[in-house]
Amino acid sequence: MRKVAIIGIGAVKAGATSKELSYKEMTYAAAKLAYHDAGVDPSKLQSFVTLAEDMNEGTSIFDEYTPDQLGAAQKPMHTLCHDGLVGVADAAMQIASGLFDIVVVEAHSKASNIKNKACVEAYALDPNWVRPLGIPAQALAALEAAYYIRETGASGEALYEIVRKNKGNARLNPFAAYPKNTTFKDYQRSPSRYTPLRDIEIARHADGVCVLVLACENYAKSNGSVPIWVEGFGWATETSSVESRNWTQAAYASISAKRAYRMAGVSDPRLDIHIFEVDDTYAFKELQHLEALGIFEKGDAWKKTLEGETSPKGAKPVNVSGGCLGLGETLETKGLYQIYELVTQLRVKAGKRQVANARRGLAFAWRGVPTTSGACVILGN
């Protein structure tokens, strides 16, 4: 395969709301930053990918509204219904196929426009078998959390530690929507939303936009940017039906990672990868995903978390950006904010939150309830 690099990144600050700005204006702002960062004349961009879901946008066939703010009118452009990381994979495939040399990936969240999130989520449940039961989609995460906690014995202290770590990490990230110093008391006092999930351990939605520019090796080396290589990618869906899924393993994460590791030539992710951005839409998901990705043995992640191994100064820094808990849950943009962080780290431009000696990073994003879909991207400098 042809080598592919990320040569430009642009994002706006994630926020609980983004008043007086449309998604188009926010996207335009992020795109300008990304194109400038890449040092590319926008007229030279060849193809574009957006990640979006109709009902999150409130518009059917949303891809109609994607080109103008990116400078993509009358160019190849399409939309994918997946996390931003699959957009990175798609752009990499476009370049690897030989079709294009420079491709743009964009995702945005205007979650603050969604008046009733639970109602939209309910529409993602099977209309014949599950929706009539009236179970909120969020409750599926709670069932999974209960199962996971029973199987691994993960303690409340460990779940608190993830909340404290990620919201704390976010304090050093200028893009984060929900930075906070959290105490164990805050955790204990936080009301139960869907037992055993407490309010504080559920990531809150945020608005945001992230735009990336990818290029082939020749272009990346010739245009004077600092290329960060896309070394591997993988994505997978387990099943949409709640009846037949595996409730404990996050198989979608292990299948995605296996493909990405093989592609990147990673034989042991615990040694070969130095920094991790792993989906923490719910605090327990960070643990479950780390185990599914093969970073820790099953049932060990919570212990290692308590030992500080996943803190920014630990052996395996996880979610230095603040993750979904600290930066915000930004719908399809989740994975692109992860990539933004990894590129910044691998360029050694992360300032106070810079992780020492990081040469290879992993991003993993999950699509959220009620899905079992996830994607993994490995970057190296």
Binding site: D63, M93, Q94
Partner: protein
């Protein structure tokens, strides 16, 4: 543009296209996928990745419809990806599948498109209201018939065309569809029947509009090495092209689809086609409305601007006698229009035609090269696929 490696279509499948399918969307997707797999001889376990194409979630009333359809499409525990470009999805989905394999990331890919429009009661037209700009256009309560009537009017007035010049498209396609086992709207009609049908929005007549349909269609793609080991009749994907124009459709001259031309040029360049009118033997342009077939033939550079109706009148597009058979399947007008599955139906048709397996629809003279095209969004996107056999 030199693709990294060659990709072939090695199997195809299609459900019946009907008005109100008893099957759920999942069952439709499953049926088409199964048929395509069986025709290729591959097992689901031998498929590396699955691509799904389906248009608005509003039809099925399911948020994240791609996720909902995943396992029925064979995406269980696999890389599974839903792509869309509105009505252009049916021809874009195999392009997405092509990317999967041409990049070297995968060797085999199942591509399935499904649409169940009848779930939307009383008529999917209401769901189409939500495709318009929520500030500028939705308050005007536009519908698709109106905006396409605008485009048809513009096409006619620019080139001085009459309705009689365009209506024969319906006669031809609905007649061709008589030989398609999946067809929903096949009919033997006269020009007078079409002209006498109800006017929906001037100048669009009822028999010049495709139906709303439930259905699914699928193809199996394989890398060159894999394809050669499986079949002695691989149908090569020789060119791919797609192009999305601005969302501000009111700023566009609707008389000519520039975005289709750009997509076509991209596909022809990749396929090494310099003179499409000589080199293309079969065309399956997107024909949700009678005038669209002609409009698109011009965009595909297969006719001069404004001259497609003349070629039609001279019989150039006839399946048996014409030098460029157009919509031998029966098209959307004849077979039906389950949005994304309609585009995929056209790709399936190329597969069967180029393999000489189209039965009574077979175009004579051993056709070697064919083009399929779909169109969608706000009269905005063109997707083009060129296929060929050696």
């Amino acid at each position: 543009m030199k693709p990294y490696r060659k990709v072939a279509i090695v199997g195809a499948g299609i459900t019946k296209f009907v008005h109100k399918a008893k099957e759920t969307p999942k069952e439709l997707a499953w049926a088409a996928s199964k048929m395509a797999l069986d025709s290729s001889g591959l097992k689901l376990s031998e498929i590396d990745a699955v691509v799904h194409g389906t248009a608005p979630d509003a039809f099925d009333g399911v948020h994240m419809k791609g996720e909902y359809l995943a396992e029925a499409s064979g995406g269980w525990n696999k890389p599974y990806l839903r792509c869309y470009v509105g009505g252009g999805t049916g021809v874009f989905a195999p392009i997405e599948g092509w990317l999967h394999i041409a990049s070297g990331a995968f060797d085999t890919c199942l591509v399935v498109c499904e649409e169940k429009m009848s779930n939307c009661q009383p008529h999917p037209q209401a769901a189409f209201l939500t495709i318009f700009d929520n500030f500028l256009e939705r308050p005007l309560k536009p519908n698709l018939l109106w905006i396409f009537a605008l485009e048809m009017n513009r096409y006619m007035s620019t080139y001085g065309l009459k309705i009689e010049d365009i209506a024969p498209v319906s006669v031809k396609n609905k007649n061709n569809a008589m030989d398609h086992p999946s067809a929903q709207a096949a009919e033997r009609l006269t020009l007078r029947d079409v002209l006498n049908s109800e006017v929906m929005a001037w100048p669009v007549h009822r028999l010049m509009v495709s139906s709303t349909t439930d259905g699914a269609a699928a193809v199996i793609l394989a890398s060159e090495e894999k394809a050669r080991s499986m079949t002695d009749k691989p149908v090569w994907i020789e060119g791919v092209g797609w192009n999305l124009d601005t969302a501000y459709w009111t700023n566009r001259d609707l008389c000519y689809p520039e975005y289709v031309e750009k997509a076509a040029r991209m596909a022809y360049e990749m396929a090494g086609i310099k003179e499409p009118r000589k080199e293309i033997h079969i065309a399956e342009p997107y024909d949700p409305f009678a005038y669209k077939e002609l409009h698109h033939l011009e965009g595909l550079l297969l006719c001069d601007k404004g001259k497609a109706p003349e070629d039609l009148a001279l019989g150039r597009f006839d399946r048996e006698k014409g030098n460029l058979p157009v919509c031998p399947s029966g098209g959307l007008l004849g077979v039906g229009n389950p949005i994304s599955a309609a585009g995929m139906m056209k790709v399936c048709e190329l597969f069967w035609q180029l393999r000489g397996e189209a039965g009574r629809r077979q175009v004579p003279g051993n056709p070697k090269k064919a083009v399929a095209q779909a169109w969608g969004d706000l009269m905005q996107v063109g997707t083009v696929l060129v296929c060929g056999v050696n």
